[in-house]
């Protein structure tokens, strides 16, 4: 179904959803940057800037408690956190490159083990994607087969119009349902033209060729060449919409504490450190190789999907200027 919505009505939609008790997450000004954060009113929606961190936090928070323990006279009590308590959520105005990562992550979180926290959040979230009319020189969604107008992963999809409103397409049943429930805020199909889509500058990459090269180049001087400079921080992985490694730790004391799940990164020196002390990825080049292999080979082999949507966040954030698009271009040219 296709409708249109004005910007004031989009903000009103957020107010309405909040008043219905839903958790609404969208781009919001946060000091020197914009982040996807819970909105308490439509007025807070900040559409101008690309959020610094990706939208994956809507399903895969930076840190979450999965159980708590407590000891008293009676003994030890362990309490599971109930995923059912996760609230109904609407993720609004998320970039196509963020949204496209969500269905990719579904594969790994519902594979040999079903991550109920992730899956419950996914089930309870309706995603309103927003097409990009602007891209910067780090954006390369088009090079990895997506686009600033890609609806992959969106339930509803907004495309900005020349008159300041948005064309609104329902992509899934969830989207249809949201449209139907708030029909008064939408009007009929657009008369105004959609704004032209952003045009990321990087040329198309041959992703199958890249995968084939990776298949046969586990050992290659390229890894040292590119990754000797890698500082081994988690900035690239933490900001990435598709990176999903996490750590589970128990924190607290003898009397009480919690088991928590929080983000981890393959760039960290201790990431694969074994209890024996042996670390199979003992230098940065082998860690960076894993980053590329995981995104463009292992995940493709296993789930036929790629762990990169070309959002450019890692490119913007890397403190030592490592540019994944340059790495891909280089492999592509071999």
């Amino acid at each position: 179904m296709q409708k249109t919505i004005t910007e004031p009505n989009l903000r009103l939609l957020i107010d309405t959803l909040v008043s219905e008790g839903k958790r609404v997450i969208g781009p919001k000004a946060a000091g020197t940057m914009t982040l996807y954060e819970p909105l308490s009113q439509g007025e807070e929606l900040n559409l101008g800037e690309l959020p610094r961190r990706s939208a994956k936090e809507a399903f895969f928070p930076l840190c979450e408690t999965i159980l708590t323990y407590e000891r008293d006279k009676e003994g030890v009590r362990v309490t599971d956190v109930d995923p059912q308590a996760i609230p109904e959520t609407v993720l609004v105005a998320a970039r196509p490159c963020d949204v496209a990562a969500a269905p990719v992550l579904d594969s790994v979180f519902s594979w040999d083990f079903k991550d109920e926290f992730f899956l419950e959040r996914r089930r309870k979230t309706t995603i309103i994607g927003l097409a990009c009319a602007r891209a910067d020189d780090a954006c390369f969604c088009t090079a990895v087969g997506l686009s600033p107008g890609d609806t992959k992963g969106s339930d509803l999809f907004l495309a900005p119009l020349t008159d300041g409103g948005y064309r609104c397409d329902a992509i899934t049943e969830k989207g249809e349902a949201l449209l139907a429930a708030h029909a008064d805020l939408f009007s009929d199909a657009a008369t105004a033209e959609p704004l032209p889509l952003a045009e990321p500058t990087l040329g198309k990459l041959d992703l199958e060729k890249i995968r084939q090269w990776l298949d046969t180049h586990f050992e290659d001087p390229l890894w040292e060449e590119i990754a000797a400079r890698c500082a081994g921080c988690g900035a690239c992985a933490f900001l990435c919409p598709a990176c999903h490694c996490f750590d589970i730790v128990d924190e607290g004391g003898e009397e009480k504490g919690a088991r928590r799940k929080s983000w981890d990164a393959c760039g960290f020196g201790k990431f694969t450190n074994h209890a024996s002390g042996h670390n199979p990825r003992d230098v940065q080049p082998s860690r960076y190789r894993n980053r590329i292999m995981h995104k463009f080979k292992y995940y493709v082999d296993k789930f036929d999907q790629r762990l990169c949507t070309g959002c450019g966040r890692c490119v913007r954030a890397c403190p030592v200027g490592i540019d994944i698009a340059t790495v891909l271009e280089e492999i592509n040219s071999k």
């Binding site: 946060a30 000091g31 020197t32 940057m33 610094r52 961190r53 930076l62 840190c63 020189d137 780090a138 040292e224 000797a228 400079r229 500082a231 081994g232 921080c233 988690g234 900035a235 933490f238 900001l239 750590d247 730790v249 924190e251 928590r260 929080s262 983000w263 990164a265 960290f268 201790k270 230098v283 940065q284 080049p285 490119v315 954030a317 403190p319 030592v320 200027g321 490592i322 540019d323 698009a325 340059t326 271009e329």
Partner: protein, 309 residues
């Protein structure tokens, strides 16, 4: 005319680039060094990244521009063993970066004779979130460069470039520090609490710091866990206190930690505050001469003891 309109003349960077390339080629060809650590241009306009050059023919890829923000001393630390293993290394260093090399020598992490320092005269580099399309000016220059005192490095094997006349910029970091110092302790605590609440524990600040070369960081320990590792208020506060204390008297002030922080936490303010305290209490400043032990790593009878109540 306001200060923001004052821009820095870019011709020096081109001259320095040429001189760096020539020096790199020379020392590689003569076999004086096994590699040169410098900067090369990035794919995106106005960006640069660290380069490790071993082939003299590739010396021409080295550049110096306002995008050359990294403190390359990082690549000579234990954290980057694979680079040191190549042999004697030449390193391109701005004045601020040279302080880190001096500090590393003091900590017995580097021997002067094992490195060849190519010092570059530097009018300033761009700030972390600067608009790269704009010229280098008060609005785009890094905070530390506005009040830099080491535009011309001293003690390098060669120093290239001649410093042009520089505009006068307002010392934003000092002003911010003064503002913090004027706060009550509770207000200051609130200030840092708010900033640290944004920390995602990506450790970019630690990983780019030349002085964070410990093979086992206390904050990575998990048997037992010394500092909570999840990005929550308690662990974040502990992490930042540990970090500030561990670097007090060692921090070279390169501000790399702050630049690398994807959450824009003003870490260099904390570094500067610690450096100021050490100067006042011990008359000590890091990075100016090679010293065996910093003030927090030794005991002297005339140390200030007024804090013991």
């Amino acid at each position: 005319m306001t200060n923001t309109a004052q821009t820095i003349d870019l011709s020096l960077y081109a001259a320095v680039t040429e001189a760096v390339q020539a020096e790199a080629r020379k020392v590689l060809e003569a076999g004086i060094v096994a590699a040169v650590v410098g900067w090369q241009a990035g794919r995106r306009k106005g960006t640069a990244l660290p380069a490790i050059v071993t082939d003299p023919a590739k010396a021409k890829e080295l550049i110096f521009s306002p995008a050359c923000v990294n403190n390359l001393a990082l690549y000579l630390t234990k954290a980057k063993k694979e680079i040191r293993a190549k042999g004697k290394i030449a390193i391109v260093a701005k004045g601020c970066d040279l302080k880190a090399l001096v500090g590393l020598m003091g900590e017995n992490q580097l021997k002067r004779e094992d490195i060849h320092i190519i010092g570059v005269v530097c009018p300033g580099v761009q700030g972390a979130n600067a608009d790269r399309a704009q010229p280098l000016s008060e609005t785009t220059i890094a905070g530390k460069c506005r009040e830099c005192t080491v535009h011309t490095p001293e003690g390098a094997d060669v120093t290239v470039g001649t410093l042009p006349q520089l505009p006068h910029f307002t010392p934003a970091e000092s002003e911010e520090l003064a503002r913090l110092e004027a706060m009550t302790p509770a207000e200051r605590w609130g200030f840092w609490k708010e900033h640290f609440s944004r920390c995602i524990r990506c450790y970019a600040c630690r990983q780019v710091c030349p002085f964070c070369y410990c093979e086992q960081c206390l904050c990575d320990r998990n048997r037992p866990q010394a500092v909570e590792s999840t990005p929550r208020p308690a662990g974040n506060m502990a992490w930042h206190i540990v970090r500030a204390m561990h670097l007090a008297g060692r921090c070279a002030g390169c501000a790399e930690c702050e630049r690398a922080c994807p959450m824009d936490i003003p870490l260099n303010l904390l570094n500067r505050k610690m450096a100021k305290e050490l100067k006042e209490l011990y008359g000590f400043e890091a990075g100016f001469e090679v010293k065996e032990k910093g003030p927090l790593a030794q005991y002297r009878e005339d140390d200030d003891q007024s804090f013991i109540k």
